[in-house]
């Protein structure tokens, strides 16, 4: 039987079981790396470095995980903090890597043109709106969970999601028809 995230965390806590932590990384690497790739506007190398840093921090601070939120929410929060610290260090976020976006597209599920426009429109959103939209609309977090990840008030998250979605809808109006 497959262990739940909580069961794997317990193994890490009690036995320092790095295999259990490896399973947690395998389960969540795609969503964490995906989130960071979009926050960094397509800088895959930077996103993967940040994701690696986030998982190592999660391991070192796993005793701080109290189980009040889902493990994935806790991870997103660490990943977002890694991103924020790095962005502060760099002052300016990197530009969009169009070639890599194109290379990673999935033509079977989304029209490549739509995907390109969607990612481009996302990258044009201000960081606070982009983060809120990515967490809530793409990664399926509730407003409350997103507020915990971003460490901002619930009302602000709702406003940011609403504004971000409106902007995206306006930009992508032609695809919605």
């Amino acid at each position: 039987m497959e262990l739940t995230d909580a069961g794997l965390v317990a193994r890490v806590l009690v036995d320092d079981d790095q295999h259990a932590f490896g399973e947690l990384v395998r389960r969540h690497q795609s969503s964490v790396r995906g989130l960071l790739r979009q926050l960094t506007r397509g800088d895959f190398a930077l996103a993967d470095d940040l994701a690696q840093d986030a998982f190592v921090r999660a391991y070192k601070n796993i005793r701080g995980f109290r189980g009040e939120a889902k493990f994935s929410t806790w991870l997103y929060r660490i990943a977002y903090n890694c991103f924020r610290e790095d962005a502060r260090r760099r002052k300016e976020l990197v530009g969009i890597n169009e070639e890599q976006w194109q290379a990673e597209r999935d033509p079977q599920t989304v029209d490549p043109g739509l995907r390109h426009d969607l990612m481009h429109a996302l990258s044009l959103l201000p960081l606070h709106e982009r983060s809120a939209v990515l967490l809530c609309c793409q990664n399926g977090l509730s407003h409350d969970e997103a507020a915990r990840v971003l460490e901002i008030p619930l009302g602000t998250v709702k406003t940011n999601v609403l504004r971000g979605r409106e902007k995206l809808k306006k930009t992508l109006a032609v695809w919605a028809q």
Partner: protein, 113 residues
């Protein structure tokens, strides 16, 4: 508080536009970066505790003139009424049991979380 996010065309497209990212050695790289597990320290811990206790006992024995105070205290114990000894044993037992229950509860909470 935890209201579901409205699912519409935009949300669906956003989710579809985020394909699964293959691991491609990412997990292995993360595991290489992790600090060494504290298994060795954990293994040594009981030996360190026993060693320290033995050392402290030996030191006490030497500093207390060959442990003469133990004989004195033993003699004093024999003069204590039996009821007091039983009460003391009961209280000690309950104290140890309370400690054990507290440790078990905190461990169980840790595992559940």
């Amino acid at each position: 508080m935890n209201e579901p996010i409205e699912q519409d065309w935009l949300d669906r497209k956003l989710q579809e536009a985020a394909p699964y990212i293959e691991d491609d050695g990412f997990t292995a790289r993360v595991l290489q970066q992790l600090p060494v597990p504290r298994q060795a320290g954990r293994f040594l811990r009981p030996f360190i505790l026993v060693g320290m206790s033995a050392f402290a006992s030996a030191l006490t024995y030497v500093l207390s003139d060959g442990g003469r105070f133990i004989l004195v205290e033993m003699f004093r114990l024999t003069t204590i009424p039996t009821l007091w000894v039983v009460a003391f044993a009961l209280a000690s037992g309950m104290l140890v049991m309370a400690g054990g229950i507290f440790a078990a509860m905190s461990k169980s909470n840790q595992i559940q979380s």
